[in-house]
Point group: C2
Chain length 202, copies 2
DNA sequence: ATTAGCTCGTACGGGAATGTACAGGTTAGC
DNA sequence: GCTAACCTGTACATTCCCGTACGAGCTAAT
């Protein structure tokens, strides 16, 4: 794994900086517009298109790299959050410190979906998904999260809400300051055990 | 308005049929893939590409026509649903008879978003949005729907959930038979007044 | 200071999709 | 049955984006 990470360590500091700028530019651009052009990304990175092709052979390769980068960042955040105690509060903490990041990744993910082979996506972000699933399961065991809906749907709907919040935020219809609270309130409502009067099939 | 609707009434029955097939094909194709080609749509309609261009001058024109058609269909369904009585049950009825349609329109809507001018979209589906808003407001007055989140967000999140359910359904991760119940349960959870223990900012 | 790596522009070729042009064949409507 | 409207295929111009090739200039590292 060590040799795989640095197959050719002969890289100038200068190039390393360019690559970093390109990857972050790709994350930003693709989160805003999944169809962003290679040229768009290069411009956003303040770099010539040919410089970009010097480091990434194809657009797909760049998209995958951006996704991996975003997922690693998300993983780091997830690892720093205390997921113990009351599952509801843990979820609120998790959302507060990561919703924006996850939302961006979600947009990037749809960008990757049309470029990367089918299974590649699930492979990449299976870790993150499992950790969220674990938290939800723990909440179910505590009796504070619902068990009347498929677990996979609970996770998916969380993603759709986060993605939606990001879109509304970009469209100027949802203030960034209140977005955190709105997201937490909405997601917790979805996850919580339903009151009796809301059951649709008694 | 009468003259605007039928500027050249001289159209053969045969052409009318083709147009209808093309529009429905466009709705189906664009709901599945927002980037569907004109050629794709023509093939789906069982019609030559040139026939299509005989009726629609540009792709945008076709996309808009498809969206209008879907919205009209949605409006018709909405009009047939009894929105009286308990707001929760009314919402459940509304979702049961329209979620699939709305979900498809949502996908089509994103297709239109990248083609039509900015304000055109809101103009087109403002009617439908207002009716849903009205139902939610009535639920708020009845005290069964929450008032701690922006109304616009409640409507938006409904759309994102519906759209998500459609995607999960297409991806084979959500059975069509249980989708109706899942959607209703999720949306009602979002709309319902939150229990005290779920409040994030007391 | 020399060298090897990096940057970047211009230019080119390939592919895909949109929209136009033309021309032969078919069909509805009077 | 005649006519005009309609369907259809092929072919073409245009545009956009991807990826490659070449080459000249700049910069980090030894």
């Amino acid at each position: 794994m060590v040799s795989a990470e640095t197959p050719t360590p002969r890289r100038r500091a200068d190039a390393e900086r360019s690559i970093a700028r390109i990857v972050t530019a790709a994350r930003v651009s693709l989160s805003r517009n999944p169809d962003a052009t290679v040229d768009d990304i290069a411009k956003a990175a303040g770099v010539g298109r040919m410089t970009l092709y010097g480091h990434f052979r194809t657009r797909s390769e760049l998209v995958e790299r951006a996704l991996v980068d975003a997922l690693e960042a998300g993983d780091k955040v997830l690892a720093d959050v205390d997921l113990g105690g009351d599952a509801r509060k843990a979820m609120a903490r998790l959302l507060a410190s990561s919703w924006q990041l996850v939302a961006e990744s979600a947009a990037l993910l749809t960008a990757a979906q049309s470029v990367l082979p089918a299974g590649r996506l699930q492979d990449l972000h299976s870790d993150a998904a499992e950790r969220v699933e674990g938290l939800i399961r723990r909440g179910q065991e505590q009796g504070v999260f619902r068990t009347d809906l498929p677990l996979s749907w609970l996770v998916s709907s969380m993603h759709y809400i986060l993605n939606g919040a990001a879109q509304e935020n970009r469209a100027g219809r949802l203030d960034a300051t209140q977005a955190t609270q709105v997201v937490a309130a909405t997601v917790l409502s979805i996850l919580s055990a339903p009151a009796a009067e809301n059951l649709t099939t008694p």
